[in-house]
Amino acid sequence: IVKGRKLDEELLEEIEETLLRADVGVATSARLIDELREAGKRGEVREGEQVLPFLKSHLAERLAAGRIVFAPEKPTVILIVGVNGSGKTTSIAKLAGWLRERGKTVVLGAGDTFRAAAVEQLTIWSKRLGIEIVKQDTGADPAAVAFDAADAAVSRGADVLIVDTAGRLHTQEHLMRELEKIRRVLGKRIPGAPHETLLVLDATTGQNAVQQARRFHEATPVTGIILAKLDGTARGGAVLSIKDELDLPVKFVGVGEKLPDIEVFDPVAYVEALFS
């Protein structure tokens, strides 16, 4: 779209539209366009041909990927949180598979004790993976399950414990407090836990993703994002605002419903896809 064109307002508008369509949001898109316009004025970008490479590298830098940070002493505890239906349970299965491929022993904690057949869903995944799951019946206290899971992970000498939680809207105060309680209980049993708290965001979500990140980050300091359902047509552009405002990096992306469909976040590939 940029061959032989100069960096003019028409081109800037086209680029802004691309960003808006990717759910980057009004304010963040406008700021990026301003930065591009300034770069043009400084002579950093002259020809249309320089625009996309400049913007892509600019964006990729901003989106610097995060990686899982393992605890100095095992088990590393990973808490998975997010709103209803975002892809938490499926992402946990994929992440467990990914860790196991890297030689880690993984235990799962079935911390969603609320939704119909949630424990059954994660149990099926644990069987497919051949890994242990700690669970109680639906209706049990999720903090109690978290505690049991932490206990089991320690006594089994597991490398990683991944704890599933029920989907919850960040507007539900009592459920956000429940999340704080789960986190405290994990920390009581294993000092420093949870070492990672990953927020699973649905790539089809619009600007509400930013609010989700803010509120979940307040309840349980989030250390990274799993951007799920990136195999669809949505681009999850809200992650740019989230990185700008909260400095939360995307660590993984979900690209399908099967076990292998998880990838470490690659900012360059992500930005390429934004503009393809």
Binding site: D23, N84, E120, T123, T205, N208
Partner: protein, 293 residues
């Protein structure tokens, strides 16, 4: 809020006198477009909408006792409400026989839960004897999830050990007719609108089970993608209506306007919680207010 921003804008531009001028409307429309985009209304729909508003607003005679901003906001509100469609009356039934309702949508939008909610609604409001059909055979424990919901409502659930969704649904409808269930609700697996084999599977379910109603179950927090996915489902299946879920959150819900504009389909119900009684009729004026913020 948008109203406050517009008030500031108009008092700065016009001092409140005379007609709504082209210049003041142009700037005001830019504010509205921004508000719509922030509310996740699709770019195209925001443009079409603001063009329509501009046309209605320019040259309008100032009204007695009403500021320009108030007048303009009213034009915007009325236009938005008109677009969202009139009050919905829920589901209309043809009195004879078995009504088949097919629920479709992207992954995780709330289909299975909404199937349960709809069964309860139909029993309570329409004295129906619903049957739930577990046609998602791929998601781990999807059948179990629907069975748990059915059990809690004392609603029968048709499920099969093997077989594919189209035949499962066709058999379920036959079974419903035999056992006197007068509404059959088909729970299908979530899928991407760009997954050709799975979209064809849905078309096959439609051919075999012959639903009277096809509802798109869409997440209220969906962003710009709402246009693409809903258009694809509509093109493939012909939607009867939309159910917008998770409206108990704080997403502005601009997807409602985008989906309405792009498919022409009305939003019939809204999901407002995880419990099975958390289903309301859609109220266009409330949605308009929510989108505009």
């Amino acid at each position: 809020s948008l109203t406050q921003r517009l008030t500031g804008l108009f008092s700065r531009l016009t001092g409140g006198a005379g007609r709504l001028t082209e210049d003041s409307v142009k700037e005001a429309v830019r504010e509205v477009k921004r508000a719509l985009l922030e509310a996740d209304v699709s770019l195209e729909v925001a443009r079409t909408f603001t063009d329509a508003v501009k046309e209605k607003a320019v040259g309008r005679e100032g009204m007695e006792g009403v500021t320009h901003a108030q007048q303009f906001v009213k034009i915007v509100h009325d236009e938005l409400q008109a677009l969202m469609g009139g009050e919905t009356k829920g589901i209309e039934f043809d009195v004879s026989g078995t009504t088949v309702i097919m629920m479709v949508g992207l992954q995780g939008s709330g289909k299975t839960t909404t199937c349960g909610k709809l069964a309860l609604w139909l029993r309570r409001k329409h004295k129906k004897s619903p049957m739930l059909v577990a046609a998602d055979i791929q998601r781990p424990a999807a059948i179990e999830q629907l069975k748990v919901l059915g059990k809690s409502l004392d609603v029968p659930v048709h499920f099969e050990e093997g077989g594919r969704p189209p035949r499962i649904c066709a058999r379920a409808v036959e079974q419903a007719r035999k056992q006197g269930s007068d509404v059959v609700i088909l729970d299908t697996a979530g899928r991407l609108h760009i997954d050709e084999p799975l979209m064809e599977e849905l078309a096959a379910v439609k051919r075999e089970a012959k639903p009277h109603l096809v509802y798109l179950v869409a997440d209220a927090m969906t962003g710009q993608d709402a246009v693409k996915s809903s258009a694809a489902f509509h093109e493939r299946l012909g939607l009867s209506g939309v159910i917008l879920t998770k409206l108990d959150g704080d997403a502005r819900g601009g997807a409602a306007l985008s989906i309405r504009q792009v498919t022409g389909c009305p939003v019939i119900f809204v999901g407002v919680g995880e419990k099975l009684d958390a289903l309301d009729l859609f109220h266009p004026e409330r949605m308009a207010g929510r989108i505009l913020g």
